[in-house]
């Protein structure tokens, strides 16, 4: 077989591979959207689920997912920004720093179920918070810290050195340079990364089943006092998220329309992830333009 025939055969083979992949991936997205979108209605995304009857919704689960996301970001982002600043600006090549970097890398490679079990042991049992939003938010923060630290460190490292020198020339201390010049300039990168990580938090389930729990108590959306047990804002109540809900009703759901509800919930999840992807691109570009103008 001549080299030219081989080349043609290989190219054809690659087209076949890509054809297979596109079919599978398009089928996957198509399946979720075609079966799921007809399920979506205002009633579906606002009413609580039914246990024995059909016609239940996923309202509390959707709220829980967003609330958990907000809490997780409130815990993880400040720590990640601090750690990212140190690693990018202050850290020297020292064996302690190298050890710390290895540990952070190990944390990022741990399976989510292991992090969830650690959260179960530490937050749920040892700290005594029980199955609660707070335990779930802390577990998810641990799980996403390494990713966020890397995002912050990368965004800060991408700022040209001349900006730092400009700050020092104006008599700023290193810390002042970081807070007044570097961080604002790195903000578009950080925000983009945080929104992308949000998608990961939003869809995570394995780390949550033993931390945030698999049930939602009856919550009253007119009660916004965070200390009241029926308030949606109470951080010490168990909270089943959308992703956990999909898993749970496929394993033990006894409502007659479990399949239809999972279809709808899966479509809702993917639409949310799409939304996070587009916002991150849009906000990143918008902020970059705004910052770049002056």
């Amino acid at each position: 077989m001549s080299a030219k025939t081989k080349d043609r055969l290989a190219t054809a083979g690659l087209y076949v591979i890509v054809g297979i992949i596109i079919t599978v991936l398009a089928g996957l997205l198509g399946f979720v959207f075609v079966k799921g979108i007809p399920q979506l209605s205002w009633q579906f995304i606002t009413t609580p689920p039914q246990i024995f009857k059909e016609g239940g919704g996923v309202g509390p689960q959707l709220f829980n997912s967003f609330y958990l996301l907000v809490l997780t970001l409130m815990i993880a982002v400040p720590i990640a920004i601090g750690a990212g600043i140190y690693l990018a600006e202050y850290a020297r090549d020292h064996w302690i720093i190298r050890c710390i970097r290895v540990l952070i890398e190990v944390l990022s490679s741990l399976p989510s179920i292991v992090v969830g079990l650690f959260g179960f042991l530490f937050f749920v049992l040892y700290m005594g918070w029980g199955f609660s939003i707070l335990s779930g938010a802390f577990a998810l923060s641990l799980f996403n810290l390494p990713l966020l630290v890397r995002v912050v460190e990368q965004s800060i490292c991408n700022i040209p050195k001349s900006q730092r020198e400009a700050g020092w020339a104006l008599g700023f201390s290193k810390w002042e340079t970081i807070t007044t010049i570097i961080l604002p300039a790195a903000l578009p990168g950080i925000v983009t990364g945080v929104i992308l990580a949000s998608g990961r938090v939003f869809g995570e389930a394995a780390a949550l089943i033993y931390t945030a729990g698999m049930s939602t108590p009856i919550i009253d959306f007119t009660n916004w006092n965070p200390l009241s047990p029926t308030s949606p804002l109470n951080p010490f109540r168990p909270a089943e998220t959308l992703a956990v809900h999909i898993w749970k009703i496929n394993g033990e759901g006894i409502m007659p329309d479990a399949a239809a509800i999972s279809d709808g919930a899966a479509a809702l999840l993917i639409i949310s992830i799409l939304f996070f992807n587009f916002t991150s691109r849009f906000i990143g570009n918008w902020m970059f333009k705004k910052m770049g103008a002056n």
Partner: protein, 310 residues
Amino acid sequence: MMAKTIKEIEHTLYRKNSKMRTERFGKSLTFLAVVLTAAITAAILFLVFSKGLSTFIMNDGSVKDFFTGTTWNPAEVNSLGKPIIGALPFIVGSLAITGISALIAGPLAIGAAIFMSEIAPNAGKRIMQPVIELLVGIPSVVYGFIGLSVVVPFLRDLFPGSGFGIAAGTIVLSVMILPTVTSLALDAIQSVPRSLREASLALGSTRWQMICKVVLKTAKPGLLMAIIFGMARAFGEALAVQMVIGNASVIPHSLFEPASTITSILTMGMGYTVMGQVENNALWSLALILLLMSLFFTIIVRMIGKGKSA
């Protein structure tokens, strides 16, 4: 007069001023954040190790039984008075699923990456790359759910059995890790310098010879890393696998019989055992295996990375 000026210089330059204080404050605050992140990892490692080893230390479990035994019933003891903790079915299940998924997803992903970088860079960049980036972000539960409602019934119709098993798990995981591996492989292939490609073409090689002998060879460490990342993700995946594998704690005789993995048994069992008892400690030993495997994957990736930069 003179003395006063010198005093003033000392006063402004050498006294600790508020700037130095904020500088020190900021530096220690950020250092604290770094130490906290590292300490969390250390705490996780310590807890999982101490819990996982207590099966063998406190409950007198045998390490040999754990890795070679095929019966999992930690609540009971065998004739020697040791808990029955044969984890071989789960270890085999996890390894089989991870290995076969890598064998399926690896070539497909590398093929797609070659296509996107060498054959149709325009279509690749404009259409395939965004779609693949989107698919990387799809939650694993969704993959499990699709597996449960499409792959399992499909296998049930084609092959004897219920459709649950290693085959279903493998298909779900291959599709799940495919986007991740593809985008990492694409990075590896695109980082091959353009001049190498041009040199190869100038020597008269066809495009396929150039891809095979130059691009793939140069990108080999990066491609290996991509596949290992995919394997690590497959090995640690819990819910998507648990939904389609059938959860039977035996070593399956075929790919279409129900089986179990380490993660599936952890997901199923943890809620039904009481902290501190043998049944629970045995599950933590499984979590320890999971952790050791993920450390192993990290070490391999680091070693390949080091070899690449050297």
